[in-house]
């Protein structure tokens, strides 16, 4: 970062890549700005990867699992037990395991793309996918709430019990805003923003290294090593965030579903 702040002397000024460059040209363009993009290819690829891996792992159904089956069971058991069972609990959780499982691995694989050399593009660095997933979750938990409690659910979700009546005029709007308006927005943007920022940092570091290496001044050229070290550290952090965001997204989904299921006790 220090290196980036140094004034460029000979080779003109350094222009860091911006948001505009988040959008690669389409592989198969159609229309003015649209086309079959790398993002789309990666999303389809992720479905193939996840489906293939888990069907292969689950297919044998041996009582004493092999390595592949064990890995699949560990991954499945993580979502099933550590997220669905622990958060939703009781007898209800099995119904929501498929959704949580699909969400977790769909997001995880699409995020990890950002850490895979050559692919280097987390699918959710474009906001559309995050909107779609958050929208699915939004519709799901509201649907569960209505199915479980009827239209009374909206009262249960917005009017907290045990609050004095004179505070209710303040609390109810806050609850409505936080539960029904802000929740899907934060749910989607949290995923999108972390992926975008991570991708942007990798791009900036890359172009910064390239720019510094091109400098004629040897000392200035040498500072590119610092940027490289920083970029590697950021890469590690990004890899962690990619996995963490998949977990957070799924965990929040489970929490929303649990809240809708047990609206009376909240």
């Amino acid at each position: 970062m220090i290196a980036l702040a140094l004034p460029a002397q000979d080779s003109g000024t350094f222009t860091p890549p911006g948001i505009e460059e988040m959008h690669l040209p389409a592989i198969l363009p159609w229309g003015a700005h649209d086309g079959f993009s790398k993002q789309m290819l990666l999303v389809i690829l992720s479905v193939v990867i996840i489906a293939t891996f888990f069907i292969l792992a689950a297919r044998k159904q041996q009582l004493v699992p092999g390595k592949l089956q064990f890995a699949g069971e560990m991954a499945y058991g993580f979502v099933r037990n550590s997220i669905a069972k622990d958060i939703i609990g009781g007898r209800d959780f099995m119904k929501y395991v498929p959704l949580l499982f699909s969400l977790f691995f769909f997001i995880l694989v699409n995020n990890i793309y950002g850490a895979v050399p050559l692919l280097q593009l987390p699918s959710f660095s474009h906001v559309g996918g995050a909107y779609v997933l958050a929208g699915i979750v939004y519709v799901t938990w509201i649907g569960i709430g209505i199915k479980k409690n009827g239209l009374k659910y909206f009262k249960l979700a917005t009017v907290p019990s045990g609050v004095p009546w004179y505070i209710l005029p303040i609390v109810i709007p806050i609850e409505i805003i936080s539960n029904f308006l802000v929740r899907p927005v934060t749910h989607s943007l949290r995923l999108f923003a972390t992926m975008l920022a991570g991708h942007l940092i990798v791009m900036i570091a890359g172009s910064g290294i390239e720019f510094l290496v091109m400098q004629e001044n040897v000392l200035l050229k040498g500072t590119s090593v610092l940027v490289l070290a920083g970029a590697i550290a950021m890469y590690m952090l990004e890899a962690l965030i990619m996995a963490l965001q998949a977990y957070v997204f799924t965990l929040l989904t489970a929490i929303y579903i649990e809240g809708a299921l047990h609206a009376e006790s909240h």
Binding site: I19, E20, E21, M22, H23, L24, P25, A26, P29, A32, H33, D34, G35, S37, Q39, M40, V43, I44, S46, V47, I50, A51, F54, I55, A58, R59, Q61, Q62, L63, P65, Q69, G72, E73, Y76, R80, M94, V97, P98, L99, F101, S102, F105, F106, S123, H126, V127, G128, G129, Y131, V132, L133, I136, L189, F192, L196
Partner: protein, 185 residues
């Protein structure tokens, strides 16, 4: 290509605003997720759950089987113990009976032997007495004849006079008897 990027960056407001989604991409994510969700619901989750259920059943079944075997073993042990106790009691009873029976038999035999020996002794006494009696009678007749013959030879004449001879013999025997009675005293 470069021109495309620039045109997308400058002309398209959608591309510049990071919060504005690309509808095509949304469609692909929706379709992709739907396909994945279908596969997961239809195949992945049922297969894993089936495996888990089978495994749980195998483990629980094994435990149940072991418990059953344990119960059977302890029942058998109990039965053997009972049998052993019964057998011991039976053996004791038989031994007691045998002992009592033996004692009884022994007593009977003793009594019988005593009676037998008494009978034998009695018989022997009687026989001895009768034989002695017979011997005395025979002897008396024989001694009379012998003595008469001997006396006749010594005297040198026939003692044909039976009446006198019988008197002599009787007197002799009476003397003998008094002598033997005196000797017995």
């Amino acid at each position: 290509m470069n021109q495309l990027i620039i045109s997308a960056a400058t002309e398209g407001a959608a591309a510049a605003n990071p919060l504005a989604p690309n509808l095509w991409e949304m469609g692909v994510v929706l379709a992709g997720f739907a396909v994945l969700f279908y596969i997961v619901v239809k195949f992945v989750v049922p297969m894993f759950e089936k495996t888990f259920a089978e495994r749980a059943e195998a483990i629980e079944g094994g435990i149940a089987k072991a418990e059953k075997a344990q119960a059977e073993a302890s029942a058998a042990l109990e039965e053997y113990r009972q049998q052993l106790t019964d057998a011991r009691a039976e053996a004791n009873r038989i031994r007691e009976e045998a002992r009592a029976e033996g004692a009884q038999i022994l007593a009977e035999l003793k009594a019988k032997a005593a009676a037998e020996s008494a009978r034998i002794t009695e018989q022997a006494h009687a026989q001895i007495e009768s034989e002695r009696q017979a011997a005395v009678v025979a002897l008396r007749a024989e001694v009379g004849t012998l003595a008469t013959t001997l006396a006749g030879r010594i005297v040198g004449e026939a003692l044909d006079d039976d009446e006198r001879a019988a008197r002599v013999v009787d007197r002799f025997l009476a003397e003998l008897e008094t002598q033997s009675a005196g000797a017995a005293k």
